[in-house]
Symmetry: C2
Subunit: 349 residues, 2 copies
């Protein structure tokens, strides 16, 4: 489970060098000055008299992320014609909340520690990163209070609570081979899509847009987030053949119930393959795995075409994200936001 946010994070990072990064570059060019101010605000507001705090925060925040979530806030605010400067602080809040989530998502239990982790926790243990996450979380709320915009505060407070619930739900579904697609969607809605939705909704709220536009922006972000996570979970198994520098099968080794496996188990049930069900039970439920198991798991996913099915689902949510933008007038920001959807999905190829 700890890799959920990690795979998001690493995907953010690695894909920036891939050829399909062009769409984000369109957006980056449009909000270049805003983003520069966000970066300055991030550096300024992660400071603390306790020097270790900015050091750890820096470790994650500056780890080459392309700031996808704050970019969404900047772009949706501009899409709605916003002329003020509050979106800078609000976009910073989004990045702080995301980083706090990453830090808390990395908390490991004894068994995980034995496996070794290349995260903030591997360097500083569990305790300090959790507290630094709390610090960033608090700083986000301090920034929001400075802006003094209660609707934005409400959106982000609610998003935080939905994220925490989604993360707990993910822990509960781990190693549980009865997890179905609905439960999976509930998990990724909480752990990923809600913050994407909130990042976009805030762009609409801060520019005092009509309620239907604000809702459309939330829907856009929300569907984009679901598509983003579906592709992430697809890439966890498919990336070896198609992209470089990604470890395949982390989710398998952790017994994380993502869609490619959920669909493979459903297919085994439908076709009455007891040997396959026994395989999934042993490897996912009991985490009893040998070196041959990941290749076998991949062959089962291939046999039932569940990786492709996962990618198809991502495209469906991408289409919904596109549709959510249809009510906005054509222009550079709408086009850039549409390209973000394609970027998030295309990185699967």
């Amino acid at each position: 489970m700890t890799n959920a946010a990690h795979s998001q994070s690493s995907a953010d990072t690695t894909s920036s060098t891939a050829p399909q990064a062009a769409p984000l570059e369109t957006l980056l060019a449009l909000v270049k000055q805003d983003l520069q101010q966000v970066n300055e605000t991030i550096i300024e507001r992660m400071q603390s008299p306790v020097a270790l705090i900015p050091q750890i925060a820096h470790h994650l925040i500056s780890a080459g992320g392309k700031r996808l979530r704050p970019l969404l806030t900047l772009a949706t605010a501009r899409l709605c014609g916003y002329q003020g400067s509050d979106h800078i602080k609000l976009a910073t809040c989004i990045e702080f909340l995301h980083t706090a989530t990453l830090l808390h998502d990395d908390v490991v239990d004894e068994s995980d520690l034995r496996r070794g982790k290349s995260s903030a926790n591997a360097i500083w243990g569990n305790q300090t990163p959790v507290l630094v996450g709390d610090f960033l979380f608090s700083r986000a709320f301090e920034l929001m209070v400075e802006v003094g915009h209660l609707p934005s505060l409400g959106i982000l407070a609610r998003a935080s609570s939905v994220i925490a619930q989604g993360e707990v739900l993910q822990l509960l579904t781990a190693n549980d081979t009865t997890t179905d697609e609905d439960a999976y969607l509930q998990v990724i809605q909480g752990k990923t899509a809600e913050l994407f939705g909130a990042a976009c909704k805030i762009g609409g709220e801060v520019s005092a847009s009509p309620a239907d536009q604000v809702q459309a922006l939330y829907d856009y972000g929300n569907y984009l987030g679901i598509a983003f996570q579906l592709v992430d979970d697809y890439l966890d198994y498919a990336a070896d053949q198609e992209t470089l520098g990604k470890t395949v099968g982390d989710d398998f080794r952790e017994g994380k119930m993502t869609l490619p496996i959920i669909l493979a188990i459903a297919a085994a049930k439908t076709t009455g393959k007891d040997d396959e069900l026994a395989f999934w039970n042993r490897t996912m439920e009991h985490l009893e795995q040998t070196d041959d198991d990941l290749p076998h798991a991949l062959s089962l996913m291939k046999a039932y075409d569940t990786l492709e099915a996962t990618r198809v689902r991502a495209r469906e949510y991408g289409t919904r994200a596109h549709q959510a933008l249809s009510g906005f007038p054509d222009g550079p920001y709408r086009r850039a936001l549409a390209e973000v959807v394609d970027f998030c999905i295309e990185r699967a190829y």
Copy 2:
């Protein structure tokens, strides 16, 4: 370090059966109906479709705590003549923030797990309690947004960030025998006194009191919090002779630099006792301890009277807390708040 909040928590719990609980009973009688509403709000707002969340929250929140911090918000609001109902939700926020802190403070690293912990983490591991802490933290902010009172939001956002910084500082001073009294005060200011101060300040803000009264309430809570933590750290070594049901020397075993030890090391330096400095270095810095070491540490604290000196410091801060109340007219609430100070200090006897 994980025991910092724990010892607060256990002190909250155990002392409610001690004879000196009477002062809190005065306060409890005054705000009985308000507190009933706070308890109902706590139960209502810790609910989640993810059933494990209220289960874990309940484990801590209902663990017999006497709700000292939310009581301070209720009492200070009434002291200022507040007639509304927002103080109920704000007091609930204070309890949620406190509980979130306890959950995060209990995060353990591998070494701690080996020692075994009787905390939420011992039952549910590290990950879930951290996420439940985040959930309560978020719920606190959702409640504040409902109240819609920006000054209170600012106070609590700031308090949260100060608390996180204080906790990190405590981790940094652990096992560091060069920690002096100033650094120690900075730690307990952050990890304990700030939330006491914020709880009281909010009572003044929600009743729209003049700035000097709001500041006086913050000072009262802040000094009370410092005294409270000083007594806690005193009791960690002194409780065996005087109270029942408390494990002595947890702080020693963790290498936590609290005032009784800081003063003993300072005395050894002043008197040039190299053997004592070597003892503290071995036991606190390197955590190389035998069964004879705690009794020896206690004998050194006794020789330099550092436990009594710690209690004297607590009384000094208690006096300052009393003085902070002097500007308020005499009446049942002021008297009850004054009695809280005596209660927090007297529990040392």
